[in-house]
């Protein structure tokens, strides 16, 4: 079971941030730890730099929309430790028109991943050096991966006719 293997990470996390482990879930041997939004940067920094853990790689960072639940968004961080060959999933809950803090200064990989979350979910990241849309063009309205965005697009029956 991964939770046994991961126990060092979790124990250290609980020691260092006793109030921050809000929820811990195991499903199919994968551990998910929910932490408060305000602490994510400090927690990531700790997991990255602690000599026993060394989560040096940010494998993935993505958003999930649980509309109409409140707070509606989750930002999911998947960390990987080369030293221990372990993955750890962290989660923060983000409400509508709230922002999250960027982890770009820890892992450069977060640069484009956070831009993508900003582009497709509309979650801004504080202290991000270059927060622009990445897949869609500048000036696009709306955030397609939100659940209240229609799958065929908002302008499906309104063909765009350029003015000549």
């Amino acid at each position: 079971m991964i939770i046994m293997e991961n126990s060092l990470s979790i124990k250290k996390l609980q020691e260092k941030f006793p109030a921050s482990v809000l929820e811990m879930k195991t499903f199919r041997d994968e551990v998910t730890v929910t932490v408060p939004k305000k602490d994510i940067f400090e927690i990531c920094k700790f997991l990255y730099s602690d000599p026993d853990l060394q989560y040096q790689m940010l494998t993935d960072l993505c958003g999930v929309d649980y509309f109409p639940q409140q707070p509606r968004f989750e930002v999911v961080y998947l960390l990987y430790s080369m030293k221990n060959q372990q993955r750890l999933r962290l989660k923060i809950k983000v409400g509508d028109s709230e922002s999250a803090s960027s982890v770009e200064s820890i892992w450069k990989a977060a640069n484009w991943l956070e831009r993508e979350v900003y582009d497709l979910f509309g979650i801004p990241f504080d202290n991000h050096p270059d927060l622009r849309r990445i897949l869609l063009w500048d000036g696009y309205e709306g955030h397609p991966l939100r659940k209240d965005f229609p799958v065929e697009g908002p302008d499906f029956d309104k063909p765009f006719v350029p003015e000549v």
Binding site: D60, V64, K108, L145
Partner: protein
């Protein structure tokens, strides 16, 4: 001076636009612009049943369709908690490794073409054609096979195909030697690739690079070894790594990887177990095609699964596989309905490309071409 490269440029391997800020011929800053091929695959998947998503995955990295299928079906199987028959696991490995060879062949041909070695492309496409013919016989499709199914694969190998695969496996090491005589000690090739586009171990990890691009920098990380899936732990293979982290190292790593893939294909054929190719779970897997035309119960089962799908338990899983470009991950969130609440694809090329500005900072404009070729990007996967 600012130069715009792409989106329509033969050396960008698709529709990638780079805005290069130059000082003379030296690159000061690079700003990549992506998204020209964005089709909203992640959004589309949210409105389809789990089976209907498989064809979408073919079209992510269109040179590595089998590998994309494999990652997705493994994620759904993990979500459901079902097992896969041993023969199906071996067939998946067999196809994924053949596909890896085909993908690396495209990379080698186009990469060499960008740098000016045109001959190689024709050799590479000759061998790739053999693999595509094998795929066509096995699955019916060449580029988009959609061969994998949840719980197994769509059909067993047709008669006589094993001999064709064996012929390919036997001939391929000689072909690699052929490529090497053209490139490995070629002075022009060495001058264009040695010491170009260097990225250090630490940087490569920090930028989230994976696959041969990361291993070229000397990091021994391969998902097939770190988190073995689909019986990879039963195969003997090594992970080739580079030392400097330049374009040449990445080239050597991919060449050696093709040899090991060839060895894995050989092992998979030799040890191919007998048995069914798809798990028999009436609520989840499709019935055998023959039964559908003869047996009313099988027909009903086929209809129910194709139209309604199945309902996995609430939960979330992540499965990473070693695709030809790097770690391809699928993060599935289920809310208990027959459609995924969220399907996140972790594209390896996306993160490899994000490290490109770092890689070519301070180098010459001609080196941009070799650096792009060496990280082996496919825009279908980056833009999704």
């Amino acid at each position: 001076m600012t130069i715009n490269m792409g989106p329509q440029h033969p050396a960008t391997h698709g529709v990638l636009r780079l805005v290069l800020e130059l000082d003379g011929e030296v690159i000061v800053k690079t700003t990549p612009h992506i998204g020209y091929l964005h089709r909203g695959v992640e959004k589309l998947a949210e409105s389809k049943t789990y089976h209907q998503v498989i064809p979408l995955t073919d079209r992510l990295d269109y040179t590595n369709a089998m590998g994309n299928n494999l990652g997705y079906v493994l994620a759904v199987e993990k979500l459901l908690g079902i097992g896969v028959p041993k023969r199906a696991q071996y067939l998946r490995v067999l196809m994924a490794e053949l596909q890896r060879i085909a993908a690396h062949l495209i990379w080698l041909g186009t990469h060499a073409l960008d740098i000016g070695a045109m001959t190689l492309l024709f050799y590479n496409f000759r061998e790739r054609e053999e693999i595509l013919k094998i795929f066509e016989e096995v699955s019916g499709g060449r580029l988009t096979p959609t061969y994998m199914r949840i719980g197994g694969v769509s059909k067993d190998l047709p008669d006589g195909i094993t001999d064709k695969i064996k012929d390919f496996v036997r001939a391929f090491p000689d072909h690699i030697k052929e490529y090497e005589t053209l490139l490995t000690k070629n002075v022009i090739w060495l001058k264009r690739t040695k010491g170009v586009g260097i990225i250090s171990k630490e940087d490569a990890i920090n930028w989230g690079m994976t696959g041969p691009s990361l291993r070229g920098s000397g990091v021994k990380y391969d998902v097939r070894k770190a988190f073995p899936y689909s019986s990879y732990e039963e195969f003997d293979f090594e992970i080739p790594i580079g030392s400097v982290g330049d374009v040449y190292d990445r080239y050597i790593v991919r060449l050696r990887e093709m040899e090991w893939s060839n060895a894995i294909v050989e092992q998979a054929l030799e040890r191919l177990p007998k048995g069914p190719v798809i798990a028999n779970d009436p609520r989840i897997t499709l019935p055998p095609k023959d039964d559908v035309t003869k047996d009313i119960a099988a027909l009903i089962r086929q209809f129910k699964i194709a139209s309604e799908g199945f309902q996995p338990p609430k939960g979330e899983v992540y499965v990473g596989v070693e695709a030809s470009k790097g770690e391809l991950g699928y993060y599935l969130v289920s809310d208990g309905s027959n459609k995924p609440l969220r399907m996140r694809i972790r594209p390896p090329s996306f993160l490899n490309l994000s490290a490109l500005p770092k890689m070519i900072e301070g180098s010459l404009i001609a080196d941009v071409i070799s650096a792009i070729g060496s990280i082996d990007i496919v825009l279908g996967e980056i833009d999704r």
